[in-house]
């Protein structure tokens, strides 16, 4: 089972992100479940949502306590929302920011966390293509770039289905750019690791 937690703010499509992630995971052949955190929060308040994948039907209804993957849609939550809390050892954290991983770890107080930290300027990418601060597609594409759990195709497909027309296409374009960005980032990391070795 893979467990994902999404952090963001009300209005950024945090709940949609988890639902789209579940759909993309289902397209990738997994059983999937998305759980919003059921707040009465208004626009701008911190919001969390969860997603699970498995190869057997998912039964549990408890919130994700030990995520394998954490997506942070808003970097201003790094300090207050404790996105590294409960992270499974060796987990993946993807942050929407123009800063680098080192800065993210410092901001979150997670310098020593056993985790892979990737950053992607999902908001800039999304504003370019969509013009609205809803970076879910870019964030999920970044996740697709960094893992085998879901694919870019699946992410683009679920956004096109959910938002037929221009909005779906803009999300798909943002996803493609974010995917490419993270693949480049990973290549640089690998190259750096190679040169160190």
């Amino acid at each position: 089972m893979r467990q994902v937690r999404v952090h963001g703010r009300g209005g950024q499509g945090v709940v949609t992100a988890a639902e789209m992630l579940a759909r993309a995971g289902f397209l990738a052949g997994h059983e999937a479940q998305a759980i919003p955190s059921f707040g009465s929060e208004r626009t701008g308040a911190p919001v969390v949502s969860y997603c699970r994948f498995a190869d057997v039907p998912l039964r549990t209804r408890e919130p994700v306590l030990a995520p394998d993957v954490v997506l942070v849609q808003d970097p201003t939550l790094l300090l207050s929302d404790r996105p590294f809390a409960g992270l499974a050892p060796g987990g993946l954290v993807i942050v929407n920011t123009t800063a680098d991983a080192t800065a993210v770890r410092a901001e979150a107080g997670a310098e020593e966390a056993d985790a892979t930290v990737l950053t992607v300027p999902a908001m800039q990418i999304t504003m370019t293509h969509l013009g609205k601060p809803k970076p879910a597609a870019a964030m999920l594409a970044a996740y697709a770039a960094a893992s085998d759990d879901i694919t870019l195709d699946a992410v683009q497909q679920v956004f096109r289905e959910r938002f037929p027309g221009a909005v779906g296409e803009a999300n798909a374009a943002a996803a493609a750019e974010a995917f490419a960005y993270v693949r480049d980032e990973l290549a640089e990391v690998a190259a750096a690791a190679g040169s160190e070795a």
Binding site: A18, A22, R23, I35, F38, S40, P46, R61, E62
Partner: protein, 409 residues
């Protein structure tokens, strides 16, 4: 077709495929996504030959449903929590008049303090209203139960509530396979009201009954309610045969080891602790108990699918020779214990069973697998009391830290 759908969408689409003639509702969290979806389908024509009525209160929502049902239409509404209580008078009225309205209750706590999150306090407050109360364990069952509810309610001339946990199910997305319109058309008989406001055969509905006839009226309602167990079981059997999956029924049995739902699962044995639960906590229990069983811990799971009528016989059969029962209660009878425990206790009267009431998940407190496992261990070790509150924070009402979320719970 298997697909990922939000629970509310799954329910709304299934309800639409049951072809209601009138849908009427007043918005309340966490029911809103269901009625929003239906209002869209009414506008797009996907919900054909149906009047969607926006009203000014839940009291009117149920009243419009009463008029619609008496007028000869299949009527549907949905509500939760304060809304269910606000319509309470009309809820009883619909049952007394034998109108087979189907209502989704997106189960939510009842204030004060105001709380929009999930527990079963709302439905429990209506337990004696004369409605069937069917509880969904997951979103697949929530959708399927509506088909069974319309069929059973209309055969019985009795309204039915389909209870699904608010947010936990209504707002969660899961992989589901919805019954198609063609399948439902083949399964669900067309709506033929047993009584209607018909100009060809005028009737007076809703007369006053004096002391000389009221007791008999209630007695007949009681007998009809006893019939309801057989009708619910029968429609659930037919549903399984038609759709190839389990839904509804009276109690849900689970395989001792895989914890899969299995009506052929053996009854519990005298060594077993039986956990009785209702609603979505069953899923969390399945996940929590499977590894315990693998470790040889003698624990079994029984789900209550039909809370009203309460299936005492079926429950006793499923509990078998066990005399040790732990009930997960999602609603509290103040000063006494869990509401479900009271019903289980009445069903087990005379069996000298040890009964624990574990009140859990009030007002949306997440129910954790680890906490359930600990309660089971304590029960087996003789350390669990007759009434326990799962994950109760000692020392009064906790003050949350600034910005606290579930993550920082």
């Amino acid at each position: 077709m298997r697909e990922v759908l939000e629970g509310s969408q799954a329910v709304a689409r299934t309800v639409a495929r049951c072809r209601p003639g009138v849908v009427c509702a007043y918005p309340i969290s966490p029911q809103t996504h269901i009625v929003e979806a239906l209002s869209v389908m009414a506008r797009t024509g996907e919900l054909a030959q149906c009047e969607y009525v926006n009203v000014e209160s839940e009291f009117s929502a149920m009243s419009v449903s009463i008029g619609a049902s008496a007028g000869g239409s299949r009527a549907y509404t949905a509500t939760a929590s304060q809304g269910l209580l606000y319509m309470a008078e009309a809820v009883y009225n619909a049952a007394g008049m034998g109108l087979p309205i189907v209502m989704t209750v997106a189960n939510r706590a009842v204030g004060a303090p105001i709380n929009i999150w999930n527990d079963h306090s709302d439905a429990m407050a209506m337990r004696d209203s004369g409605w069937l109360q069917l509880f969904a364990a997951d979103n697949q069952e929530a959708a399927d139960l509506h088909v069974i509810a319309f069929a059973a309610a209309e055969e019985l001339g009795m309204p039915a509530m389909v209870c699904m946990d608010g947010f936990v199910l209504t707002h969660a997305s899961d992989v589901v396979e919805l019954p198609t319109a063609e399948q439902i058309d083949a399964f669900l008989p067309p709506y033929r009201p047993t009584q209607a406001l018909d100009i060809q055969n005028p009737t007076t509905i809703g007369t006053m009954a004096g002391p000389e006839s009221f007791t008999e009226t209630k007695y007949l309602q009681h007998l009809r309610f006893l019939d309801a167990t057989g009708v619910i079981a029968s429609w659930s059997d037919r549903f399984r045969e038609a759709f190839g999956r389990e839904a509804g029924g009276l109690v849900a049995r689970y395989d001792p080891d895989t914890l899969d739902r299995d009506r052929m699962a053996p009854p519990a044995s005298s060594d077993d602790l039986v956990v009785v639960a209702m609603g979505s906590v069953i899923g969390t229990l399945q996940a929590a108990l499977e590894p315990m069983r693998a470790a040889g811990i003698p624990v079994r799971l029984v789900g209550i699918s039909s809370f009203r009528p309460f299936p005492g016989d079926a429950l006793r059969e499923a509990i078998g020779d066990s005399r040790h029962v732990m009930v997960i209660d999602r609603a509290l009878e103040l000063g006494s214990g869990g509401v479900l425990t009271g019903c289980v206790g009445r069903a087990l009267a005379g069996t000298r069973s040890r009964l624990h009431s574990v009140v859990a998940g009030l007002g949306g407190r997440p129910i954790l697998e680890a906490s359930l496992q600990e309660a089971v261990r304590m029960a087996l070790d003789g350390e669990l009391g007759r009434l326990e509150f799962l994950d109760l924070k000692e020392g009064g009402v906790p003050t949350p830290a600034a910005g606290a979320t579930e993550v920082a719970r």
